[in-house]
């Protein structure tokens, strides 16, 4: 219901392409925004603090044919323990719940992030060094 309204609002806006990929939650900037305003666009990489929808949990995930590892905090995403190390995980790699998949730096602390799911990494969704927010999908797992 709420999501429907969102979609309706979006259609009001000019110059805004609503790219609702089936496997990805829609961008978060909802949209009581006037049409003549610069429309914020959600970009997974690039400018740090652009908004992304936190995965709106259950309803969406249930329709997915894959799982996601989402960020449990706000910070900077690193795929490897140090600049010259190999990444924790690569596409095609098998993981279990306890596998460390990346580091998120928050308030100068390096936090090792565990997969919490089991499966095979199919895609990394965030560039090394990019900012991530709470709930942002980091990896796709099959």
């Amino acid at each position: 219901m709420k999501k429907n309204d969102l979609a309706v609002f979006k259609l009001e806006k000019e110059g805004f392409k609503l790219e609702l990929e089936a496997h990805r939650p829609p961008p978060a900037i909802a949209s009581v925004l006037p049409q003549h305003q610069a429309v914020p666009t959600a970009s997974v990489t690039g400018h740090p603090a652009q908004t992304h929808s936190p995965t709106p949990a259950a309803p969406i995930e249930m329709k997915m044919d894959f799982k996601e590892i989402v960020s449990p905090m706000v910070g900077t995403f690193y795929r490897a323990p140090s600049p010259d190390s190999a990444p924790y995980v690569k596409e095609g790699q098998e993981i279990i719940e306890e596998s460390v998949v990346c580091i998120i730096e928050a308030m100068k602390v390096m936090n090792e992030i565990k997969a919490e799911v089991k499966g095979v990494i199919t895609e990394a969704l965030v560039e090394n060094g990019a900012a991530v927010q709470f709930g942002q999908p980091l990896f796709r797992v099959k």
Binding site: M1, D5, A28, V32, L33, P54, A106, M107
Partner: protein
């Protein structure tokens, strides 16, 4: 000035701060919980960062996430609004250690004035009258009984870390004192993680009057008169006004000077509020200080012709106190109604849900501060306030008539609101005459219950 400001809050105050920043030309970053993804503060800020799940303990109270959001979005200042982390000295300290300006007073001032019994001692030292009461915390039942005997019943037991009416009990005799002592301690422990309480003389049917103070980092400090917040339901303000019908120029000067003296004594910077009880004889007693912007700040803005939130930001950026604020005089009358998503016909139960149709009143002398709109869903996780309606008039009577008119136009369908209750207050003869005290709402509802029974 700042390059970018993060707003560590939600709802109308987040929007209020974004509006001030836009008018100052400063970009903003909103933080939000998953429940607030459709909220206007997220939509109107230049950037936004999701910081956690809906409960505020998982989002708006998460200091590490907010600081991380500030770091990844590269802001140089944080405005805390009111509530959440606004009076958290630890948060202010962390901001400072991260080289982010906390828009508010120093951690030391927050800590000192946030401790009610320390604030009271500070007031006594500064020659500001306080109501008779215990010196600091009362630790035992025995001590409580002794203090009560000394100052005489009725007394009020209050949480040292308190606020928002929690951890408070009235006592009219030894029995209710002992009961209240334990009840207040339990409630305070639960609400604030600190069970300390103190005891004060209960002022009979007082006005709740607070003074707005504001100071810059160069030692200049001024007050902007008073707000009368006596219209409360269970210690929650629901109607506020400026000036107070109780006040005259002489009393305003006296209380204003006390407020400035006390703020200066603690080296206070930025906006703050001194709360007093004032009895019918004009005797006043300092109660506590709120070291942040208040919900009801707009009535002061309208009457004194200033923008307190912009001033907060400018002062935090090192500016001198604006000359027009230092010399402002009251020049009209303003009333604010806090529109809550609560059902007044059903004991003010919170009424979250989706708003079908939202139509806000307009026209001369009407200001609306709100984050809601048609089809907005009021989440159940936070405070029930969904709007503030502020009406200004050349006199108190004209402000009341304007408020009556504006409330009659205000349409919020789909959820219940306090609008009918406030419309009733505006028509109450005692309120219209300005004859009320903090027991007004209780009396009004008691009378109504009585009438219904007859």
């Amino acid at each position: 000035m700042f390059n970018k400001i993060l707003i560590a809050n939600r709802g109308e105050i987040a929007l209020r701060i974004i509006r001030a920043c836009k008018e100052l030309g400063v970009p903003t970053v909103a933080v939000y919980s998953e429940a607030d993804v459709d909220s206007l503060h997220v939509q109107l800020a230049d950037e936004s960062v999701c910081i956690g799940r809906p409960p505020s303990s998982d989002s708006y109270l998460k200091i590490d996430r907010i600081i991380s959001a500030a770091e990844i979005s590269d802001v140089d200042a944080i405005h805390p609004g009111y509530g959440f982390l606004a009076e958290n000295a630890h948060f202010a300290e962390i901001c400072a250690s991260c080289n982010i300006k906390f828009i508010g007073p120093s951690p030391a001032a927050i800590r000192l004035m946030g401790d009610k019994s320390a604030a009271r001692e500070q007031a006594i030292k500064s020659g500001v009258p306080v109501s008779p009461g215990s010196e600091g915390a009362v630790e035992t039942e025995h001590e409580a009984l002794k203090v009560a005997k000394q100052i005489g019943y009725p007394v009020m037991i209050k949480a040292i870390a308190g606020g928002g009416g929690r951890g408070m009990r009235e006592a009219h005799n030894d029995v209710s004192l002992v009961q209240g002592f334990y009840a207040a301690r339990g409630e305070a422990e639960k609400a604030f993680g600190n069970g300390g309480v103190y005891i004060e003389k209960l002022i009979d049917r007082p006005h709740h009057i607070e003074f707005q103070v504001i100071g810059d980092s160069h030692g200049r400090l001024a007050h902007l008169g008073e707000r009368d917040c006596s219209i409360q339901r269970r210690n929650q303000k629901i109607v506020e006004e400026c000036p107070s019908p109780l006040m005259d120029r002489k009393l305003r000067k006296l209380m204003g000077d006390c407020s400035v003296t006390l703020a200066q004594a603690v080296g206070y910077e930025n906006a703050g509020t001194m709360e007093f009880l004032v009895d019918r004889h004009g005797d006043f007693y300092f109660m506590e200080m709120n070291t942040r912007i208040q919900v009801e700040h707009p009535v002061t803005e309208e009457v004194y012709g200033c923008d307190l939130v912009k001033e907060q930001i400018l002062i935090a950026g090192g500016a001198h106190l604006s000359e027009h604020i230092a010399s402002a005089q009251p020049r009209s009358h303003a009333i604010e109604c806090r529109i809550n998503a609560e059902d007044p016909a059903n004991n003010f139960q919170p009424s979250s849900g989706t708003i079908d149709l939202y139509y806000a009143p307009g026209g001369r002398g009407v200001r609306v501060d709100s984050h809601v709109y048609s089809k907005y869903t009021v989440p159940p996780y936070y405070d029930s306030m969904i709007a503030k309606l502020i009406c200004v008039g050349s006199s108190r009577g004209s402000a009341i008539r304007r408020m009556t008119r504006a409330l009659s136009e205000y349409l919020i369908s789909g959820i219940k609101t306090t609008i009918p209750f406030q419309a009733e207050i505006m028509q109450n003869p005692d309120f219209i005459r300005g004859e009320f005290d903090t027991s007004f709402v209780e009396k009004m509802t008691d009378l109504k219950r009585l009438e219904l029974r007859l």
